[in-house]
Structure formats: structure tokens, C-alpha cells
């Protein structure tokens, strides 16, 4: 695969899309995130790597508030997410704000999570109609275009149970991009797939990256992360252990733990 092209950048840094500051997450005695800072700028493709239990999925899920952090600050699309204290943690203070932000942040899950009682086309049309309140006819055209974009236009009338995992994941990507999100979150999008189906999903993600979309990807696909990302963030035990361009990190010698992690994966893969 060719490296994704960055969009033409205006002079100066691109605006920040998501800023997380000192994010922590604790489940009882278990500290999953121990203070993670990350600033994602428009047009960046950030791969978040780390061993299981490093907190990478939890961190991603904090960014659209599927998990509420225990402490820390989160700014999404220029809006600081409002929390209120609850016990020794936080609660969402303004669900209206969170729902509004979520509708502009696309999410692709490990297990696809297509709504099993709706067809492919209905899955893609659901949120534009029932969240954005848009007109069914104009949404239909856009949903069909989104499906065509991921190569699933010919399966519009199928139910998720009738599709392969790779096909379901591509529909899930169409469901996310039809909302025209400002940023896309991918939570291990290929981990639940049979090996021969991984490629078709990575291909779609590669194309999205090449369009200049802002993406945050939790993944174990080392080669994909190396080829497509503009930045790698390596988490270990709930902290950012190392980050940098893929060139800098994958060359080796920048961080010993990262090198061990990569060589472990390369041996397995």
C-alpha cells in the first residue's frame, strides 16, 4: 500500500479536533488510564498501538464518551465536554452536548455492531434521519453513495446476518461516514475478522485516509499503521509511552518497549 497523502495544509498547525488532557479511567481498584494526553489535528491519521490491557480501546471510547473518564479534560471539535463530579469520578453533565458531538464523531466498532433488525441501507439511513432529522429522500441518495464508496451498494437490501464480517464492517464504515463526521474513531476494526477478510476493510480505511479525513485508529495491524498513519501513539499501562511519525518509530531505537512490542507482533504475524 502507498502511504496516504496528506491534504494540502494551510500554513501553521491545523486546528485541533480532539484534545485530551490528563485523562484517567479507573474501574474500582483497576487503573486503566493513568493520565493520557493527546491532541489530534484536522487531517491527522493517528494509530494508537499497545498490548492488550494498555488502555487503548478505553481511551478511544472516552473520546466519544462511551466511557466517561474518571478525571481529566476533553475538548471535542472546539467544545470542552462538560462533566460534573460524581463520587470520586465524573458524570456527563450535558447529554445534549454529548449527543451533538457524537453525531459529528464517527465510530467503527470491533464487532461491527450493525443493527441486526435493519437492512444494510436502513442501517446507513438510520442516524441521518433520526438523529440529524433530515429528509428521507435526500438521505437515501447519500446512503447509497456511502455504500457505493465502501463497495457495498449491491447489498443494500440484505440484513447484517446475511453478510460476512468484512462486508458488515464496510457497512459500518458507510454508516459512520454518511453522517459526514469531522473525525472517525476505529476501535480494532479488523480484530474480529477472518484473516482473508482483513484486507478489504483496510483498503477502505486506506482510501478514507487518502481523502484527508481525520482518523484515530486502535489497531494491531502494524503494517497498516506504519503505512497509513501520520502519527503513532504507543500506550503502555495507561500512559503514552512513545509517539512520533511511523518512520521515526518503526526505524527502531527510539523506544525500547515499542521495539519489543513491534518485534513481538511481527513474529506472530
Amino acid at each position: 500500500m502507498q502511504p496516504a497523502q496528506s491534504p494540502p495544509m494551510p500554513s501553521g498547525p491545523a486546528p485541533s479536533v480532539i484534545t485530551a488532557q490528563k485523562l484517567t479511567k479507573r474501574y474500582g481498584a483497576l487503573e486503566v488510564l493513568r493520565g493520557v494526553d493527546l491532541e489530534a489535528h484536522e487531517g491527522e491519521v493517528i494509530s494508537i498501538l499497545g498490548a492488550s490491557g494498555s488502555g487503548k480501546s478505553t481511551f478511544l471510547r472516552c473520546l466519544n464518551l462511551l466511557e466517561v473518564p474518571t478525571s481529566g479534560d476533553l475538548t471535542v471539535l472546539g467544545e470542552r465536554v462538560r462533566f460534573r463530579p460524581k463520587g470520586d469520578g465524573l458524570r456527563i453533565a450535558d447529554h445534549g452536548q454529548v449527543n451533538r458531538l457524537r453525531s459529528q464523531v464517527g465510530m467503527v466498532f470491533q464487532n461491527f455492531c450493525l443493527w441486526s433488525h435493519r437492512t444494510v441501507l436502513q442501517n446507513v439511513m438510520e442516524a441521518p434521519i433520526h438523529v440529524q432529522g433530515r429528509n428521507r429522500h435526500e438521505v437515501r441518495d447519500e446512503a447509497e453513495a456511502a455504500l457505493a464508496r465502501v463497495g457495498m451498494a449491491d447489498r443494500a437490501g440484505y440484513y447484517p446476518s446475511q453478510l460476512s464480517g468484512g462486508q458488515q464492517q464496510r457497512v459500518a464504515i458507510a454508516r459512520a461516514i454518511v453522517m459526514q463526521p469531522r473525525v472517525l474513531l476505529f476501535d480494532e476494526p479488523t480484530s474480529a475478522l477472518d484473516p482473508e477478510l482483513v484486507g478489504e476493510v483496510l483498503k477502505v480505511m486506506h482510501d478514507l485516509a487518502a481523502e484527508g479525513r481525520t482518523m484515530l485508529i486502535v489497531t494491531h495491524e502494524m503494517a497498516f499503521a506504519r503505512d497509513v498513519s501520520s502519527r503513532i501513539v504507543f500506550l503502555e499501562q495507561g500512559r503514552v509511552r512513545a509517539q512520533g511519525t511511523p518512520q521515526a518509530l518503526f526505524r527502531g531505537g527510539m523506544d525500547e518497549r515499542f521495539d519489543q512490542f513491534v518485534s513481538h507482533f511481527m513474529r506472530q504475524g
Binding site: R100, F109, V131, P160, S161
Partner: protein, 237 residues
């Protein structure tokens, strides 16, 4: 004898057919109302039992324990006599002497609806627990609010899981409306008893009533199963 039997359950001048049919209609109406009340109470009960607030869970558990634990006929009696006594007392306070009773249809439907609601609570609760978390999270991630999420995702999926058990509950509600005969509602069983007494043909009329219950149960059962098939169409198994 044969000819006169047919005439007795028929729709002629001597026939009880028209009255029996009306009584069957009342049975069906009572069952539908009871089931609908049960569906509302069952939904509320499931929400209580699934709540994160301990007091609410406790209220839900109290409701299902009590109304699944005491005989239905007792619930009907309690409601009928208790309700009438309370009403009479209130009317006395308001200056109206005499005995007042509540309409037996309303009382009976409330009583059976309450019991059915206790069973439906368990059905909805376990159906909700079968819902995959990802289905809800996918809705949240698109920015769905609680109402949209409930109506577009949670309700249709929960209903699909609940439907087989709801079919059973419906069948038993249909039969339990016979209890309303004891508080004076002339539904199918009561009408059959009247006809059996008047004609001294108990076997004929109770047998007819039994057949009518069976037919009503089977026909509605076919309806429920077709809805079930429709909702399962996407399952591929």
C-alpha cells in the same frame, strides 16, 4: 335431542348463539384490555427492576413477587370487594348513602392486568438483558438520544426476544378472564353457565364454551407466530 342441541347453541329463536357470541366478544375484549394494561405495567416493572437505584429495584421485585405469588382469584376478590368498599366509604364521606360497587369489567381487567404485568415484567427484563450491548452503543455513538434509542433500537429488538414468552402470557390471560365470571361479568363462561342452567344441558354449553376458548386461543396464536416470524426475518436462523 340432536336437532334440539344444535338449535340450542344456534342463532335461531330458541338458540343461545347470539348471547354466547357476544359473551365471547366480551371475553376477548377483557383479555385484550388486561394484556395491554399488563404490557404497560410490565414495561414499567422491567424499568424498575433494571434500575440502578436500589429502592426502585426493590419496588419492582415487590410487585412481581406479590402478584405472581398469590392466587389470581384472590387478586380479583381483593380488587372487587376492596375497591367497592373504598368507593362506598368515599361516597359516604361525600354524603351519598348506600352501597356502591365498581363496574366489574374495569375491576376485573385491572386485576388480571396487574397479574399479567408481573409476568410480563420478567419477560421484558430478560429480553432486555439479551440485547447485545454493541447494538445500544452503536446508537449512542451516532448521537441518538434516549427516546430515539429506545424506540428505534431497544424496543424492536427487545420485543423480538420477548415475543415467544408474550405469546404464552397472552394465552393464559385469555383463559384467566373466566375469573371475571365470579364478580358478575357475563363473559363466555358466565353466559355458558346461565345457558346450561336454563336448558339443563351443561355438557352441551360447557363443551361449546371450551371449543370457543380453544378457537380464540389458536387463531390469536397464529397471529402472534406470524408477527414472530416477521420480526425474526433478519436472523437467518
Amino acid at each position: 335431542m340432536k336437532a334440539s342441541s344444535l338449535a340450542l347453541v344456534g342463532f335461531g329463536v330458541d338458540g343461545w348463539g347470539r348471547l354466547l357470541l357476544m359473551a365471547a366478544g366480551l371475553t376477548l375484549a377483557a383479555a385484550l384490555c388486561s394484556f395491554a394494561i399488563g404490557a404497560m405495567l410490565g414495561t414499567a416493572g422491567a424499568v424498575l427492576k433494571l434500575s440502578s437505584v436500589a429502592t426502585l429495584r426493590w419496588i419492582g421485585t415487590f410487585y412481581t413477587t406479590v402478584f405472581r405469588g398469590i392466587p389470581e382469584i384472590l387478586v380479583v376478590y381483593l380488587f372487587y370487594f376492596g375497591g367497592s368498599l373504598a368507593l362506598t366509604h368515599l361516597m359516604h364521606l361525600a354524603g351519598f348513602p348506600g352501597f356502591f360497587s365498581l363496574p366489574s369489567f374495569v375491576i376485573g381487567v385491572l386485576a388480571i392486568g396487574l397479574v399479567s404485568g408481573a409476568y410480563q415484567t420478567e419477560t421484558y427484563r430478560s429480553a432486555y438483558l439479551r440485547l447485545e450491548r454493541g447494538q445500544v452503543e452503536a446508537g449512542l455513538a451516532c448521537g441518538m438520544g434516549r427516546v430515539v434509542l429506545l424506540w428505534r433500537i431497544i424496543a424492536p429488538q427487545t420485543l423480538r426476544f420477548a415475543l415467544p414468552a408474550l405469546g404464552n402470557i397472552w394465552q393464559s390471560v385469555l383463559k384467566e378472564t373466566a375469573l371475571l365470571s365470579i364478580i358478575g361479568l357475563v363473559e363466555l363462561l358466565r353466559q355458558s353457565t346461565i345457558a346450561a342452567g336454563a336448558t339443563r344441558q351443561p355438557l352441551l354449553f360447557y363443551g361449546t364454551a371450551a371449543c370457543v376458548y380453544l378457537v380464540m386461543g389458536q387463531v390469536t396464536g397464529i397471529g402472534i407466530r406470524s408477527v414472530e416470524r416477521h420480526l425474526s426475518r433478519y436472523r437467518g436462523r
